[in-house]
Subunit: 329 residues, 2 copies
Amino acid sequence: MKKIAVIDGLQYANWSDRIFRQMRDGDVVAVHVTICYHESFRETVANIAAWNRRFDQFSNLIFPFHSAGDVARAMKEGRTAIVFGCQNCSPIENDIDLVHICRQLGIRFMQLSYNNQSLLASGCYEAEDTGITRMGRQVIREMNRVGMAVDMSHSGEKSTLQAIDLSERPIAITHANPAKWHPVPRNKSDAVLKALAESGGMLGLSLYPHHLKSGSACSLASFCRMIAETVELMGVDHVGFGSDLCQDQPDSVVAWMRNGTWTRDVDFGEGAPGAEGFPEQPDWFRDNTHFRAILEGLRKVGFSQEELQKLAHGNWLRFFVESFDVQRS
Amino acid sequence: MKKIAVIDGLQYANWSDRIFRQMRDGDVVAVHVTICYHESFRETVANIAAWNRRFDQFSNLIFPFHSAGDVARAMKEGRTAIVFGCQNCSPIENDIDLVHICRQLGIRFMQLSYNNQSLLASGCYEAEDTGITRMGRQVIREMNRVGMAVDMSHSGEKSTLQAIDLSERPIAITHANPAKWHPVPRNKSDAVLKALAESGGMLGLSLYPHHLKSGSACSLASFCRMIAETVELMGVDHVGFGSDLCQDQPDSVVAWMRNGTWTRDVDFGEGAPGAEGFPEQPDWFRDNTHFRAILEGLRKVGFSQEELQKLAHGNWLRFFVESFDVQRS
């Protein structure tokens, strides 16, 4: 099979030389990496500083994403462009001016809420979803203005539908699957997926076992059939990968993702008592070199070469162009 | 006289539409503006956010400086490029990674110390100057790497000479005059000025009355003769303006500049009890439209058109090219 470049819509690995080499070996030309779950602005800046050091240390493998043109550059140079994103709005604290500041520091995606209610939107685990808040409306407008994409992966349904409606630029659900295939709070209804596609947005399909039918035992064929059905629903231009790969992370990290600094109880999130840790990845997707097998699987369910290129990178690339460009004053 | 564009090496005005119009009317194409005296990182970010709002509000008059090419853009568009600088190293706190972060947020100049001892260097008011500290050496190297210019305007002599020696890029004294002309701690010895010029650095000549012979009563002719003598000493390629104009600021601001958050006494700095406020500007230099009169005065003391262009903007422009460009990884 001819090499097809991949853009991954979300990863949060325990970054290392090995992982960056696997990205290169897997033809992964751009990855949206999470740089914040619960961190304050200052803590997020420290995370960016850690990335600055990685960019120096591993400059032969990775470089900081600046604009959509960097995807072509990554293809040409055999490196991976790293796109920053936040899984929560905690870095902007309660200060709308920090949206622009975060954009200046390279942040290109921000989720409006992470499981819980935030200052901006409801999370997918709240009993009631009250929609986009007053500040949320302002922040969506500001994100549109400065070129930062709205991500609703962990938000509630009503908030998500409102964000699709309010945002003047297409929005993303960077890592989730259709709830019809596997009904959990993190996966999305057909209503959301259709509205997302109609507004020009993007869905990144997740390989995190809690989002997969049969979890860790999910088969590659089942995953590929699900993609074919999702394309049926959304069209071939609005679907890509958002693997949610958390490679080499210790279990303490998933506990921190779920509990952050917001609770004194233990929140098990998608896990359960006795199964608190990271679920095991399916054996056909454990690192960045495994996208190739998925593309092979997608070919088997009937996608053409042109369609595979859209799913693998073309759709995300178009989204990058539409989402991040900003009129320089 | 033919219009000559001006780059000013330092201002800290009470920014307003009126002042930005005067910049445009005075053909001031770029200004290094102070965004921090004593502020922490987070406070400096708030100051940058305030500038982001100004860039939106006054986009017909000003825009954020990104690279040396913006000077030509400003000339063409009749606007002013705003270059951020810090008069102290307080924004990097004790974290060397904040140098790069500050550079990403647009900061292009940083003084290593402001009057007092800092983590990096001694200030010009300390009884003893112990030179560049261990952290100071690291920070100079990091500033060289990321493209942020070292400014030693308020530092002690030994620290300044060491910074000139240690820095691999030329450094600046953005706002000061020769001590030979007016001997105060803030003005610089011939030894410093010669070392600065020999290393390719820049001196911005100050119009702050405490730096002028006869203070507020200094004549334009005296100021222009001083420039001629400074050019004699340093060569015509290493001198420009650094007006230190603090237009429309209330006296509380100069008290804050001097006292910041470091003392419970009152430090009078260059002032004195009974004369704590801002000194009155000489009547021939009160706003950005008055550079034209200075250039006329310089012509009278014998400078050619070509030399005037160097002094007015050419030298600073060369310094910008040499100081801020950074190899993109």
